[in-house]
C-alpha cells in the first residue's frame, strides 16, 4: 500500500519564499535570460519539488511536471504536426490551456520525456514515475484540421508517443503513467483507447498506469479494468458516487487501483481519520498490496504549501491505516 501522486505540483511557493520560476519565465519572455538559464531554473525547481514530495513522505514521486505549461501543449509542442492556438478552459476548472491544433501528420521527433525522467530520478531518493498525456485526451482537447477523423488522429498520436514510452521503459522508469481523464466523457472511445494503448505499450515491460480524474466512472469502469495497464487511477473525491461503482464490481486480481482519496482541488485538509476510513473501505474491495493511495488529481490547483500539507497528511493517513490494518508499506 504505497503512496504516490497523480502528476503536477505547484510551480511557485508563496511569500516569503521567492517565486523563482515565475520570475525566470517573465525574464525569459522579456529576452533578459537565455533558454539555457531558464532550463537551469526549471531543473532547480524540479529538484525542490521532488524534495518536498519526499519530505512529505510520498513513496513514489513525479518530477512535478515543472516544465509543463499544461498536460497538452508540453507534448504537442514536441511532436510534429501541431500548432498552438488560443486559451480554452481545462474541463471544469478555472484554469486554461492553449489549444493544440493538428495541422499535419503527427510524428515523433526526438525523445524528451526520458531526459526529464532521468534528471528527476538522478535527484530523487524515491522511485520517480514517468507521466505522459494519453492519445484520447490529447485528441479530444485539440482541434483537428488535418486528419478530420478522430480514430486516425488517436492512432497517429499513439504511434508518435510509443517511442517515448519505450525509451522511458528502457531507461529504467519503474512506472509509466498515461493520463486519460477525457475517457470518462467519451465512453465511445474505449475500443480506440485499447488499440492505442496496445500500440503505445507494445514491448514495454515496466509497470504501467492509466489515470483519470474529475469525472464519473459509471459508464466506463468495467472496461477500464480490461485495459492493458497495471494500475487504474480513479478520482474518488470529485465524484463520491465513484465509491459505489467501485463497490459494485469485483476488482480483478491482476490489476492495481490508484485511489484518489485526498482532494487535489480544495484547501480543506482531510483528517487522518478520514483517510484511514477511506483506506478501510478500499481494502474491502482491493487488497492493500494492490492499492496506491494518492490525491484525486494533480496538485497545481492548490497553493504550493497546501499541496505539501496534503501530501504530508496523505502519508500520515497511510501510515495510520497500515498500522490499523496490520499491513506493510
Amino acid at each position: 500500500m504505497l503512496t504516490t501522486v497523480v502528476g503536477h505540483y505547484p510551480k511557485i511557493p508563496n511569500r516569503p519564499r521567492p517565486a523563482r520560476l515565475r520570475q525566470a519565465i517573465a525574464r525569459y519572455e522579456r529576452g533578459e535570460i537565455s533558454r539555457q538559464e531558464l532550463a537551469r531554473i526549471e531543473d532547480e525547481v524540479t529538484i525542490e519539488v521532488i524534495q518536498e514530495q519526499v519530505e512529505a513522505g510520498i513513496d513514489i514521486v513525479t518530477d512535478g511536471q515543472i516544465r509543463w505549461e499544461d498536460d497538452q501543449t508540453y507534448i504537442a509542442r514536441r511532436l510534429s504536426g501541431f500548432n498552438i492556438n488560443g486559451l480554452v478552459r481545462y474541463l471544469d476548472t478555472n484554469t486554461y490551456f492553449r489549444q493544440p491544433v493538428v495541422v499535419g501528420e503527427i510524428r515523433h521527433r526526438e525523445t524528451f520525456l526520458v531526459h526529464d525522467w532521468r534528471f528527476a530520478q538522478e535527484h530523487s531518493p524515491r522511485p520517480v514515475k514517468a507521466i505522459v498525456t494519453g492519445p484520447i485526451t490529447l485528441a479530444r482537447l485539440s482541434q483537428d484540421e488535418h486528419y478530420r477523423d478522430h480514430g486516425r488522429l488517436v492512432i497517429a498520436l499513439a504511434e508518435a508517443l510509443a517511442p517515448e514510452v519505450r525509451a522511458l521503459a528502457e531507461a529504467g522508469a519503474p512506472i509509466v503513467q498515461v493520463n486519460e481523464p477525457l475517457i470518462l466523457w467519451h465512453q465511445e472511445d474505449l475500443p480506440l483507447l485499447r488499440r492505442a494503448l496496445q500500440i503505445m505499450l507494445d514491448g514495454v515491460t515496466c509497470e504501467t498506469a492509466l489515470y483519470t480524474w474529475f469525472g464519473s466512472i459509471e459508464r466506463v469502469y468495467p472496461q477500464l479494468l480490461e485495459l492493458p495497464v497495471t494500475t487504474i487511477g480513479i478520482d474518488l473525491v470529485s465524484q463520491p458516487r465513484n465509491w459505489q461503482v467501485l463497490g459494485q464490481h469485483t476488482f480483478p486480481t491482476d490489476r492495481k487501483l490508484g485511489a484518489g482519496i485526498v482532494d487535489g482541488r480544495n484547501t480543506r485538509l482531510e483528517s487522518v481519520e478520514e483517510i484511514v476510513a477511506a483506506v478501510r473501505h478500499l481494502t474491502r474491495i482491493v487488497p492493500p498490496d494492490r492499492l496506491y493511495l494518492n490525491p484525486s488529481c494533480g496538485l497545481e490547483y492548490l497553493p504550493r504549501e497546501v499541496a505539501q500539507d496534503k501530501l504530508r497528511r496523505l502519508a500520515e493517513g497511510a501510515h495510520a491505516a497500515r498500522q490499523a490494518l496490520g499491513v506493510e508499506a
Binding site: I12, D92, T95, T267, L302, P303, E305
Partner: protein
C-alpha cells in the same frame, strides 16, 4: 424611442500606472489607505470623464479599486472581506499567470456595505446613471476554495444572501441598474445550473431595480436557452470574441420579448481596435433578430487588460457605430 440601442460597459477599465504602483506599495505596507483611496477616486473620475466624452448612456465606475472580481470581496490588498472568506495562496490560472484564490473558511455573512461608497462617489460625478457592479453567488463560490460548507450548494445559497444584502444597500443608496456577473455559470451546467439560477433568484427577488448579468467565454451553447431563466432584465454575452456565432443560438431559439440582450461588439483580448463599419455590420446582424429597444451595446467584457488608450478607442468606435446605426434606422 430614446431607450433603443443604449451603450454601456461591462465593468473594469485599465488602471493608470500611478494606481498600479500605489496598489503595489499599499500591498507592501508602504502606502496608507487614505492615499490609496484618493488615487482610486482620481482614476475613477478619469474614467467617468472618458465615458462621458465618448458618449456612453449608462456608465460603470471602472473597478479601479478592485484587482480580481472575486478576491476583491475576500480581502485582497485594498479590498473588502465578506465574513467567512479569506485570501488563499497563489494558484496558476494559465501560462505564467497566478492569482490568490480565496477560501471560504467560515459561515458567510454580509459585513456591511462593500461597494456602496464607490458607487455613490462615482454617481456624484455625473448625471448619467452608473451601474452597481457585483459578482454573482455561483461564481463567487466556484472561484473559491470551500473549507467550511459540506456542499457547494449550501455555500452558494449563503453567498446569495450576502450578495442580496449588498444589492439592497446599493438600491437604498439610489442605484437603478445593478449588474451581477456570473462568468462561471457554465462550468458544470448539467450538475449546477438549476442551483445557480435559484441562488440568483434569492439575490434579486422582490427588489425593485433593473438587474443585468454578464456571462463570458465558455460554452454558451450548453446553457442556452436555459440561461433565459435567470431573473434579470438584461443578459450580456461576448459576441465579438466568438465571431457572433451566438446568433445561431438565437435563430434556433428566439430571444424572449421580456429580456434585453447586451451585445459585446469589441474584443477585449485583442489589441486591434475594431472599425466603426465592423460595429455597424455586426449590429445589423443582431437587429435582424431583435428590435433595437431590446438591445444594448457594450464591449465583450471588462477592458482592464487593454491600455487606457486602447480601451477609450474601443469605446469610441462602439459609440460611433451605434450613432451611425441609429441615424440609418431613423432612431436618433
Amino acid at each position: 424611442m430614446r431607450e433603443a440601442l443604449l451603450t454601456s460597459a461591462v465593468g473594469s477599465y485599465p488602471k493608470p500606472d500611478y494606481l498600479v504602483r500605489a496598489r503595489n506599495a499599499y500591498a507592501q505596507g508602504k502606502l496608507d489607505v487614505q492615499e490609496l483611496r484618493q488615487l482610486e477616486r482620481k482614476a475613477t473620475e478619469y474614467w467617468v470623464r472618458v465615458q462621458e466624452r465618448v458618449g456612453l448612456d449608462v456608465l460603470v465606475h471602472g473597478e479601479q479599486e478592485r484587482g480580481d472580481m472575486v478576491a476583491y470581496f475576500a480581502g485582497e490588498p485594498g479590498g473588502v472581506v465578506i465574513e467567512g472568506m479569506k485570501l488563499g495562496g497563489l494558484v496558476r490560472s494559465y501560462g505564467n499567470r497566478y492569482y490568490h484564490k480565496p477560501i471560504i473558511a467560515g459561515k458567510l455573512r454580509w459585513p456591511g456595505p462593500m461597494t456602496v461608497d464607490m458607487w455613490r462617489f462615482t454617481q456624484s460625478l455625473t448625471d448619467r446613471p452608473v451601474k452597481g457592479m457585483l459578482t454573482g453567488p455561483y461564481t463567487m463560490v466556484e472561484w473559491s476554495f470551500n473549507e467550511y460548507y459540506p456542499t457547494r450548494e449550501e455555500a452558494v445559497m449563503d453567498m446569495a444572501l450576502v450578495i442580496r444584502e449588498e444589492v439592497k444597500a446599493l438600491v437604498a443608496a439610489g442605484c437603478r441598474y445593478i449588474q451581477i456577473d456570473e462568468p462561471a455559470i457554465h462550468t458544470r451546467p448539467e450538475e449546477d445550473f438549476d442551483m445557480a439560477v435559484e441562488a440568483f433568484r434569492r439575490v434579486v427577488e422582490g427588489i425593485d431595480c433593473e438587474f443585468h448579468t454578464h456571462i463570458c467565454y465558455g460554452p454558451i451553447e450548453k446553457i442556452y436557452p436555459d440561461v433565459l431563466r435567470l431573473p434579470v432584465r438584461q443578459i450580456h454575452l461576448a459576441f465579438k470574441n466568438t465571431g457572433f456565432q451566438y446568433l445561431k443560438l438565437l435563430e434556433e431559439h428566439p430571444w424572449p420579448s421580456d429580456k434585453v440582450l447586451g451585445v459585446g461588439v469589441t474584443d477585449v483580448h485583442n489589441h486591434k481596435v475594431e472599425s466603426v463599419e465592423e460595429v455597424v455590420e455586426d449590429m445589423k446582424r443582431v437587429l435582424k433578430l431583435l428590435p433595437p429597444e431590446q438591445v444594448w451595446v457594450l464591449p465583450d467584457c471588462g477592458l482592464k487588460t487593454r491600455t487606457p488608450e486602447e480601451a477609450e478607442a474601443k469605446l469610441r468606435v462602439m459609440v460611433e457605430g451605434v450613432q451611425r446605426l441609429k441615424r440609418e434606422l431613423g432612431l436618433d
